[in-house]
């Protein structure tokens, strides 16, 4: 009986947490569309999330594209199918690796920073101070970060896609001796709009998840420096897990026959 009670209490805690997160997300979303809109803050978050994440995302996708070309070559050579490298690289990067790797890297960089910043603001009463200065913390802190997440990650992924495909091109042409013109022709030939669009939709969802997790855990952090540390860890871990779960769901929606 006590075992059942334990399962029940865990389930109740999970449901309560899910409810709190859903309410938080809905409140944050509602404030994205309700004036006043803080354009300066949105711009600042966009620069932080988009521009300053470019090196991380660029390097990640570049080397992923290079490794992918190398691994595909060694694997496909066993079946004399080396010519499919360009197809494999461009489809893998645009559909999966671009959005997932960019999402995970940005979750580590930005999700953690959001949770730490909001967590510190919570424990030093800065969020309470916002309320006393007639400023809604959701509108001032959460909404700009959600907007920046949803808009910036697709742009990052778009850039990452190009860099990743370029990484595959570099290895294929300069190391494996492929003809540059044929490689580019095959890349463009196999690529369809849906491949890129699915990746960008994933990126928008992942951007929302990263901002939501960073804000939610930071906003609700408790107990000083340790609480901020816990919030930061939880923000990154929960964002990474949700990114992988939603990656499957969106892939299923786009590509399942």
């Amino acid at each position: 009986m006590s075992f059942l009670a334990q399962i029940g209490s865990v389930l109740l805690l999970f449901l309560a947490a899910s409810g709190r997160l859903t309410l938080f997300a809905l409140t944050g979303l509602a404030h994205c569309f309700r004036p006043p809109i803080y354009l300066r803050l949105i711009g600042r978050q966009m620069v932080d999330m988009g521009y300053y994440s470019l090196p991380v995302v660029g390097l990640t996708t570049l080397f992923s594209g290079m490794v992918l070309a190398l691994q595909t070559y060694t694997g496909f050579a066993r079946f004399n199918a080396e010519s499919a490298i360009a197809n494999v690289v461009v489809l893998s990067i645009t559909r999966e690796l671009g959005p997932v790797l960019a999402g995970l890297m940005v979750a580590g960089r930005i999700g953690a920073s959001m949770a730490a910043e909001l967590g510190t603001m919570r424990v030093t009463e800065q969020i309470d101070a916002l309320s006393t200065l007639s400023t809604n913390p959701f509108k001032y802190l959460v909404a700009p970060r959600l907007i920046a997440g949803v808009t910036m990650l697709p742009l990052l992924v778009l850039v990452g896609d190009v860099i990743g495909v370029f990484g595959g091109y570099l290895v294929s042409v300069y190391k494996l001796g492929f003809n540059a013109g044929i490689y580019i022709h095959r890349t463009l030939d196999i690529l369809e709009t849906q491949d890129v669009v699915s990746g960008l939709v994933k990126a928008a969802v992942f951007g929302f998840i990263i901002s939501l997790m960073g804000c939610y855990h930071g906003y609700n952090s408790r107990g000083g420096a340790q609480g901020v540390g816990v919030a930061t860890t939880n923000a990154v871990v929960s964002a990474a897990i949700l990114i992988l779960i939603f990656n499957y769901i969106i892939t299923e929606l786009f590509f399942a026959k």
């Binding site: 030093t124 009463e125 800065q126 309470d128 101070a129 309320s131 006393t132 200065l133 007639s134 400023t135």
Partner: protein
């Protein structure tokens, strides 16, 4: 003739955090234009009381009226309207470390009252001057200031919108006695100049005697004594006597683990 209605009227206020009952039926009136200081030991719920009035905590039951308007259960938009009457000095200052000092002071003017930044900056500089800070300080980050200067900036921010009601949460905590006296003097001066109503919480008796018109003592989740500051030493209440004289012996027993 009936007495004038209090600026803040609290009745039967109860607030618990889980099994811990912090406020157990608070009844308190803050007269218009007067300074009321709530005293009490650490952990007696003084901050919770102020945060219930500010709408940061939602009370479990009871009534809080501001200018005769019931403010418990207000929507977020209505709460923003009521909060425009308030200024608050937080215990730790709670300055926004992402903004320079002048923007901290002007925050309520820019975001709360929709004033343009160019118009708000001179107002912020005037408020900084009122608390004894020069224009050089205005461009610094809060982290570059000493504790006393941060308290002054926080005070300037609290009075910048010229609020009707100002809350002070432990305004002298962490300051040396001289700086604490400076801050107390500034609080007294600013509140008088604005003609504001002030609700403060502290356990610093020097602060109480300097800034209070009326004093109320919070103990066991209730107000056990209230009266004019001049009667504080003749309260006839053993709890108050023990507290104001800082005696370990008396009816208030601190939990000390042996």
């Amino acid at each position: 003739m009936s007495p004038p209605a209090p600026k803040i009227r609290i009745r039967g206020l109860r607030k618990a955090f889980g099994p811990k009952l912090v406020l157990d039926g608070i009844d308190l009136d803050v007269p218009d234009g007067q300074s009321l200081v709530v005293i009490g030991g650490s952990g007696t719920g003084k901050s919770v009381l102020i945060k219930c009035v500010l709408g940061i905590h939602t009370p479990d039951s009871g009534s809080i009226e501001i200018d005769g308007e019931e403010v418990t259960g207000l929507s977020a938009a209505e709460r923003e309207r009521v909060n425009r009457k308030f200024g608050m000095l937080f215990q730790g200052g709670a300055l926004f470390d992402s903004l320079p000092v002048w923007e901290n002071v002007a925050f309520g003017l820019i975001e709360g009252k929709g004033m343009r930044r160019e118009a708000a900056k001179p107002r912020a500089l005037v408020k900084l001057a009122q608390v004894g800070l020069t224009t050089e300080v205005a461009e610094l980050s809060p982290s570059e200031l000493s504790g006393g200067m941060q308290k002054r900036v926080a005070l300037a921010r609290a009075i910048a919108t010229e609020p009707e009601i100002i809350f002070f949460d432990e305004p002298t905590t962490g300051l040396d006695p001289i700086m604490a006296d400076v801050i107390n003097g500034l609080i007294r001066k600013c509140v008088r100049e604005l003609g504001a109503t002030a609700l403060s919480i502290t356990h610093d008796m020097a602060s109480v005697r300097k800034i209070a018109d009326h004093v109320a003592m919070l103990y066991g989740g209730r107000i056990i004594w209230s009266g004019p500051v001049a009667r504080l030493d003749e309260s006839g209440n053993a709890h108050v006597d023990q507290f104001i004289h800082g005696r370990a012996e008396g009816p208030i027993q601190m939990q000390v683990r042996n």
